[in-house]
Point group: C5
Chain length 332, copies 5
């Protein structure tokens, strides 16, 4: 396997033997990929002007597709040119476990008779993994561009499942935090809004990928023959599953948010109720004290020796009575 800065080229010969094409052998690509039963895979990382020229001249890549390579941030899509299929898809890059966030890597794939070109801008777990397996057992991985394309796409889709599992765990955590929370503030809402934004953006990335998988199945492409059709059907099924789970998570997040609002508003109100009940409970003895603070000349209780302790007793009793009354009514 040879590296010219950023290019890797592998060729599977008809017998199943694998040949690594070094920088000087690149002129052979053209010859090899036109021979029957040869399969050439060229992988380019962060293409520069040279690479774009190579793609244009050797692989007749369409100007629009080249423009897409320069602009990046494309929607996942399948563009059908005369002799070539061009796909854009996204894979999950090493997600940082700690803060539950993720990053997506863009992947452009060009498939034609006898070759696949993959272009990416980051260290791609998908390409590394498929490359490793292809180098070890080329025949088990792919004999045609169609099956190699499937293997790459399938590895990319499989990367979403652990991400979804982490999201699901994270939402359950949020749900628990939410039901336990006493107050709703920016601190509680910020992670929910962020998670919602993540789910929305993930859906926006994945939903066109499903359309691409469907287009691969429906359009009558030479790439997808009868033999490989079940594999692409499988790919489509996986994407549907990913999207189903995503929608489920979104629904659960929405429910959790609603529940949070009502629980915290309820908690606050319950505290208010209790505080106000306290107020009432304190006002009763205050009134009694006020009564015996009146300056009427003829208030027989005042001169009684037991007046004071009895008054205190009545106050205590009235407070306890009010508290018990409120407790019973569940107002306290």
């Amino acid at each position: 396997m040879a590296k010219t800065t950023n290019r890797t080229c592998l060729a599977r010969l008809p017998g199943g033997e694998l040949q690594v094409l070094g920088p000087k052998d690149l002129h052979k690509i053209d010859v090899m990929r036109s021979k029957p039963e040869h399969l050439v895979w060229l992988d380019i990382t962060s293409p520069n002007a040279d690479d774009l020229a190579l793609l244009r001249d050797e692989f007749s890549v369409h100007p629009l597709a080249l423009e897409d390579l320069e602009k990046r941030r494309q929607r996942a899509k399948l563009d059908t040119y005369a002799e070539q299929q061009m796909l854009v898809t996204y894979e999950v890059l090493e997600p940082t476990q700690k803060d539950h966030s993720y990053e997506l890597g863009e992947l452009h794939l060009f498939a034609g008779t006898g070759y696949i070109v993959s272009v990416r801008w980051e260290a791609s777990p998908t390409i590394e993994e498929v490359g490793r397996r292809f180098r070890e057992r080329p025949d088990a991985v792919a004999r045609t561009p169609g099956t190699l394309l499937y293997t790459i796409l399938d590895a990319a889709v499989d990367g979403y499942f652990p991400l979804l599992d982490r999201i699901s765990e994270r939402i359950e955590e949020l749900e628990d935090q939410i039901l336990a929370a006493k107050q709703t503030g920016a601190a509680t809402l910020r992670p929910i809004l962020d998670m919602k934004r993540e789910l929305l953006e993930l859906r926006r990335t994945l939903s066109p990928q499903r359309d691409v998988a469907n287009a691969l199945l429906r359009r009558d492409l030479p790439l997808v023959d009868d033999l490989s059709a079940p594999y692409f059907q499988d790919l489509y099924d996986h994407l549907i599953r990913v999207l189903d789970q995503l929608d489920l998570q979104r629904d659960l997040l929405a429910s959790a948010l609603e529940a949070n609002l009502s629980v915290t508003s309820n908690n606050l109100n319950a505290v208010m109720k209790r505080l106000t009940a306290f107020t009432v409970i304190l006002m009763v003895p205050t009134l009694i004290a006020g009564i015996y603070g009146m300056n009427f000349h003829f208030m027989p209780e005042l001169s009684s020796q037991l007046g004071y302790p009895i008054a205190l007793g009545v106050m205590a009793v009235s407070m306890v009575g009010a508290a018990v009354f409120f407790k019973r009514k569940d107002w306290f």
Copy 2:
């Protein structure tokens, strides 16, 4: 009926006679299922490597389908291979009545000329039931793989109706609890959120099953001939009914939740109103007491012998008056 650890094989001979194939007769399967009017049903529980090899070699099961058997947790689907249909579906396993929850069992079915293979991982009520009926009256159950497939799928779908009835009862219970509740807390919301999650997951499981039933009807499969088409239509109708009921339950649950939020918020507010009214009622006599507690030298009432009882009377009257006034205004 013979058991090799986990395999059961039944064969219906053309005359309608049923033959149980023991472990040593398994090599006959291949012969039998290719003969016209023979119907072989092989049922495997928790397939091991041997079983997978058998499926691959004797039934030419596609590598992707074998992979699905190993991975499990597939979405319900219908995969069409050259000579074989592969179905994944879910059945309700013995639901535990007590806590209204349920468990679903995964079922993989392979149907081809003259045979059905069913694979499952738990004690399956569906397979047991259809197996029992098939052993008793083979002809009444199925003469072709198509009708046997229908019988199994139909039994699986029928298992959802009691589950839905239990869910419906549970939601009515929740609704009653909710309208009676005075407060909304994690205790009230947790079962609602759990129920919602259950309904969402049940929908996610059933909705692809409907698509499978539809695909069986729409695609021109040899499995579904003119004679068995009404049966598959019936299956499809049942699944639509199940999903309709599910959606209805979900709508009712949502309404109940909304109603709960408003009722409890209303109850809380009503208590607050009452407590605050109490405060006002207590403040009036407190003010009066305050007035007669003033130290002005010239306050004629103070020296009157009736001053004190009259003051108390005025206090009592003012409290009652305020209470009556608030009651009339419906503030109390």
Copy 3:
């Protein structure tokens, strides 16, 4: 017209003459319905085993359709068998005006060359009405199974319009009650939740009926010829209208509920505001009284003869002032 416990059989002869077939003439049905231009209508109430046998033997009703007759509670549907159409539909049974509720009656119809069989389990206003008109003027009602089928279905659909009018009135009543309500409690919410459940269930019953009407139009059935197609189009239009109205009612109910929540929460809050304003108004004179209740030796006002009346005056003025201030700020 002859009744064998629960069967009624009418036959329209080619000349337009109507013949009632008694229990002993039932063997003639087979002959009559096969003759051109004969139209036989057999109506069965609450079919027993005998009736099911009759349907199976004389009308070759499919086992699945017989099963449906035994199970009941089917979704409205159109099942197409080789020589026969089987329809399930629902009609409104005598609704009890008083409590605005309704009951639906299930209707199974079998249509084939020269005959219609109707099966129901209750006194059916639809069947009675069409039967009466058919007996009076057979030709004006129907000459073919298709038009008789239309007449029955049309009468069934027409029964929904008065029900919808009652629902509409009921929702307007609820809306008025709701906007007038001061509090939201189980008493207000229970009828709304019940109405919502009714609307959801009605929609669930009617929506497949629309699909049936559409299927009658779209599928190329011998039952629906060029001449009767406009009638079935009309039926479809009516069902669309019913469903449109239903959705409108549901939207209005939802708006009314939302409005209710906000109005009552608003009312409650407004009362709270007023009560709290009362508190503040009472606290001002209380403070003044407290000031003159202080025991300082040098408080010149205390010895003034006008001190007391002036203090009372200041209290009164402060209360009125606060009240006016709050009133102006719209806080009171």
Copy 4:
């Protein structure tokens, strides 16, 4: 132009000349409309039994269409009979500017070879306007039933735009009122609920009109030839625009309502906050007054000559202090 109570009949002769057919000439209709290049337009207001007979006998109107004329309140629709198209549509009748409400007029149109029949029950702005233009410059308006039909439908749709402008203005008014409102009550909500009901009903009327316009384009009708197709496309575009605007208005109304709820609830709460702050502010000096109202024998401050003024000063300072503190915390 002749009027037989409620009929108006105009005929465009091949040369472009216009002839008004009086009551006695009605028998000529039959002759004229069958001649090539003749175009007859019969307009009937509030059809009576005679008119219905005329329609049935001279124009072979289908019994179902006649029934629709008697029943009225149909959904907008296009019914295709053998030789005739029957359309139901709705136009805006002179809307009363003052209370922003509107009334819709039902319009039934019958189109066949050489004629258009229009039936309505009120003074129709659409029919009057098109009639006036047709009488002035028949050729500029229509030479075929198709273009005359388009002209009538187009005039009817154009009548919705001023209505939508008024609704849009009304909603902006409501929005302004809503954001300015301090309280939400039946007075604020009633017009919003009414507006919502209006929008829902308008949508329910217009949405089938769009389907009719689409059906005119899609179905291969002799009425809509290549030459007039762009006109019907234009009609369809207008209806889409009307519906788009309607949905936009509905969304804005919903947002406005939500905003209103939150603003008024916020206002109420802010008042509560302020009132409660007042309470606290008043309680501080009350406590101080209470302290100096205690009857302890040894309270040095009491005998100080400056005690009283200092106490009053402390009270004032404490009140101002609390007010400032609350103001800073934005609690007041």
Copy 5:
């Protein structure tokens, strides 16, 4: 390049040479555009009666399209006439950075064999830009009406991306303001409602543009040949991306609004809770003061020299105690 008040006409000759047609050369248009390999681009700003006549006579523009030019405010659309395609689309006009608002410019395009006519009413960034590039390197921009049309539409769509970026920034700003806000009032809600209205109107403008792009692809137009199809596919993809982002923004705005409501309601309630707790804290010492203000003759504490300081101490301790208690319970 010649300007007759408001017309600019550029012609690309077969050799690739560009010719500017002055007002006197306009009669040549007709000749040129019919010659093979000629491409004429006529651009008109704010068309007057003369321009409309020119369009009608020289370009056979359909009366309906002319009417659209006079009426303006059309929905984006593609009208197919016999020899001509007519498109209406909208571009973003120089958006004023300051207040985040934007203005859209209407663009009518007519495309036929050998020519494009563009009509607009404002200084159009799209037309200026494409015009500049076309004058500089005609061949790089377009050789056929189809590619020129694509170039114009693509430039128009590209103008939406910076607008969307600004909207996205603005919504993030709003989100931050919202989560930080303590109160919800017209001041907070007005910009949200305005932003929502903007997004709704933008969607209403863009959604038919996507339909136009799709129609260009799907309908079998001579304008869009195999060579230019990928370009129109690209245009369609861009519009889908714009709409996707728009929907995402709308979802985020809705979430932000909901979050705002709950945060501010929560803040208000938390303040209420704290204020009410203050009330309770002040009531405890008030009660104590009331007790020692009572006039009982036998109150031993009163004559104690330490009575007063101890009473003050108890008051202080009770206040601190209550505050600590409430703090612990998180009520304060």
